[in-house]
Amino acid sequence: MTTLTSLARAIAAERGTAQRITTVRHVHIHERPLVLVPLTLAGEANAPLAAMVGTARDDARLLVVAQPRNRDQRFGFAADLAEIVLDYVALFTTQVELVATNRGRESRARYADGPQLIVPNPAGAAFVRMFGRSTRFRKTDGQWAVPMTVPVLGRWLTHFAERYDHPGSAALVALTSALTAHWATGQSALEDANLAALMGWLDPPAGMTGAEAGEAAEDPLAFPPAGPVTDPTFDNEVLAPLIDAYTDNPGEPALARLVAAVRGQIEPTWDLVWRGVELLRALPPGERVAVRWGADRDAYSSMVLGLADGRPPQPKRDGAVAAAGRLNRMERDQATYDVQRAFDDPLVLAEYRLSGEAFAGVVTAAQPDRVDTSGRRRVLRPHVTVLTQDPVRFTPGMELTSPARPSQKATVVSVHAGAADKAEVVLELAGGMGSSLQAPPGSVPEVGERVCYTAFGDAYQQTPDFPAREDTPWTHGGPPRDYVPTDGDAAEDWS
């Protein structure tokens, strides 16, 4: 939370209408995402009760586990879900594109598109992770055999869950998080976690304000929770008697009643998710969204390859090298995501201007042909003076970047307080102007141009060197052994 988004919340509360906190969309929205709305049985460890799943609003499949504590029925559910998910992830292996690497000297192949899984909320993403964990070590032979597809489903779900941990990834999207990254409502973040209330604010029915629709949507009878946990009153008064009736008399009529009741709980969320997806889709995408989607497609390509190569299932715990590498990638992804959003979106950049990590203003003087002769070689070092109203917290000597000219380095020469709360910043520019002593047109900001400078840039960062897995030092436990699923994993009960 930052001052600008908090101000937007205050405005939303005052007007009863949600406020935009970005000018563009920062998440990739697939033209054909797989939406998954899971429901679980309360009190159990991720025991599926139902799921509605499909790639279009009018093409939903409802899977229901009539006796959620029954092991066979659960694996039946897993096999049904596997069929849908595996068909979906196989859709994108037809087209390959080449990506330049190593500054264009080499190239590598990746799939031109990839899968996107959308769940209603972060708890839905947690379901994906847990269901992946509970299925990927299953055996397809022996005493506890499950269908061939079940452990593969587990590995794909784990793949999505791992991507979810990477800031900026859009492989697995929790809708409430994606929506609240683009709009501020007049309620608290805690209340925004309720998808129905959030959508009430963002997309109120005709004749209602967002505030009114948001509050009305808090009634769990009219708007069932987006899950995975169901409403306790529904559990006690509807679901429990229906499950009991089915257990006593497992026929078609009892099953039909149970399925109808579950459908009543899950369908409203299904519709809300698709409406939310459409809201996001309607926003223009930020310039660097495609770059981040590329990283998701890299991960997808590697996953497809790994499955084909017979790579073992993802371990329960990372080894030392894998953990260090993962943490490093996540930190870099976070930094990259923050910078890219700021560069793509003036409203996000404004947050940094407010906190003094960036400033914007108008160029009032420029010496585009200034040459520095103090060194052995004469070098082009233009000076520009920028007049800004932003609170400037930079000191001489600091190096800045401009989103408009990312390859150019700007060093602060001086900062002077000007008239009417304004500050005058003199910058010395280097790079991005070719090699002659004459700056090409456009490479140096001109007088009157609006410019922005930030303390951060999105330049490529070198990956630190980690030892190979087999060279894990003894201080970190030595080379880890491959995790081999045991009979214990295969037999592991679902309560």
Partner: protein, 368 residues
């Protein structure tokens, strides 16, 4: 009856005082600055019922499935004199439990709470010399807001190497060594209530309270199965929080002194038990006691929806972080007026106002 008791009884009215449980005592630590909650809890007011009477019913219930699962797991752990638990304690925690006694201190029919507590106290203090006895359902006692509260925990306390450990059985799973942090935190604070109650009991008997370990034993289902996993959880931090809040409750008189003497939330039931006090009356009485609403209250306090309604228009209703971001200004209207420069800041608002003005200018400039 002391003056304080009389005063609290007047506030509560004709209803029976609500009995505290470890859960309700633990919940008090969630928003310690809230006077409304402190006063209502001290008076033993049934906040859930009161919330319904003022038209803002609480919205948390418990699913039958969760209760069934919790009971089944507890029964499984305690079966055959806690045989399964003991073997785990031996194996996993390497506890040198050779012989173990098991003592069920469950209620004996029409026994009073005081008698049952006395029995538990006797059994546990006598155990000072014997090692390795499990006590099931001991009834503990502690002072909350100057009044004795009996805690009927489903806990087992066992004594080992001269120390008592509190055992808490929970049915949320520990998967690959990890559990839901919120649930672990809730279990830890509830266990801390028991640790505190046990320590008080020993102290009253002239025994060393430190005999009760601050490491509690948390028993949860392991992975996706029903077999238990045991974990030691250090609850020292929770004990500190709890002690602070309980001492604050002990000073409840200071809070009451700020309130009118005849303040009451008595529903005044008629002969048929139907309340005759209007929601407006009860609401007006509630408004007299200061609340400190934060959105987090919605998940643990029964009257939170009433407080939320009251707090509408305040920045804290949008979240504590939002209020801080807006420079600590209390009212949304004031914050926006300062941002739009339609209101002159007071000297202490100067700094916040400058921040808000800058934010509003940037938002306007970029959105234009």
């Amino acid at each position: 009856m002391s003056d304080l008791d009389a005063r609290l009884a007047r506030l509560r009215g004709s209803a029976q005082p609500k009995r505290h449980t470890a859960r309700t005592i633990a919940a008090m630590t969630a928003n310690p600055g809230c006077s409304r909650r402190a006063v209502l809890d001290a008076a033993g007011v049934d906040k859930g019922r009161l919330a319904t009477q003022v038209g803002f019913p609480a919205r948390f219930g418990q699913s039958r499935f969760a209760i069934t699962r919790g009971n089944a797991f507890e029964a499984q752990i305690k079966a055959d004199g806690c045989a399964e638990l003991l073997s785990l304690l031996r194996e996993k925690l390497d506890l040198p439990l050779s012989e173990v006694g098991y003592q069920d201190l469950e209620s004996l029919g029409n026994e009073s709470n005081a008698d049952r507590h006395a029995r538990a106290r006797e059994a546990i203090t006598n155990a000072a010399t014997e090692a390795g006895t499990l006590f099931d359902h001991p009834l503990l006692r502690m002072e909350v807001g100057g009044r004795a509260v009996y805690l009927e925990p489903d806990l087992i306390a066992f004594r080992l190497a001269g120390r008592f450990h509190v055992v808490e059985i929970k049915s949320f799973p520990v998967i690959d060594g990890q559990a839901d942090p919120a649930k672990v935190a809730a279990a830890a604070i509830q266990s801390a209530v028991y640790v505190l109650a046990m320590r008080t009991m020993l102290e009253e008997q002239g025994l060393d309270p430190a005999t009760v370990s601050h490491d509690i034993v948390l028993v949860c289902p392991k992975d996706f199965a029903n077999s238990p996993a045991v974990t030691l959880v250090d609850v020292r931090k929770q004990l500190t929080v709890l002690r602070r809040q309980l001492s604050r409750m002990a000073r409840i008189e200071e809070l009451l002194d700020l309130l009118p003497d005849d303040l009451t939330v008595d529903p005044r039931p008629d002969a048929d038990g139907v309340p005759t006090a209007t929601p407006e009356e009860l609401g007006a009485a509630l408004h007299r006691v200061d609340a400190r609403y934060a959105p987090e209250c919605l998940s643990h306090c029964e009257i939170a929806y009433f407080c939320r309604h009251e707090a509408r228009g305040e920045t804290s209703a949008l979240g504590r972080a939002v209020r801080e971001d807006l420079g600590g200004i209390e009212s949304i209207d004031t914050a926006l007026a300062l941002a739009r420069e339609t209101r002159r800041p007071t000297p202490e608002q100067e700094e916040s106002a400058a921040l808000l003005r800058a934010a509003a200018r940037l938002r306007a400039e970029v959105s234009a």
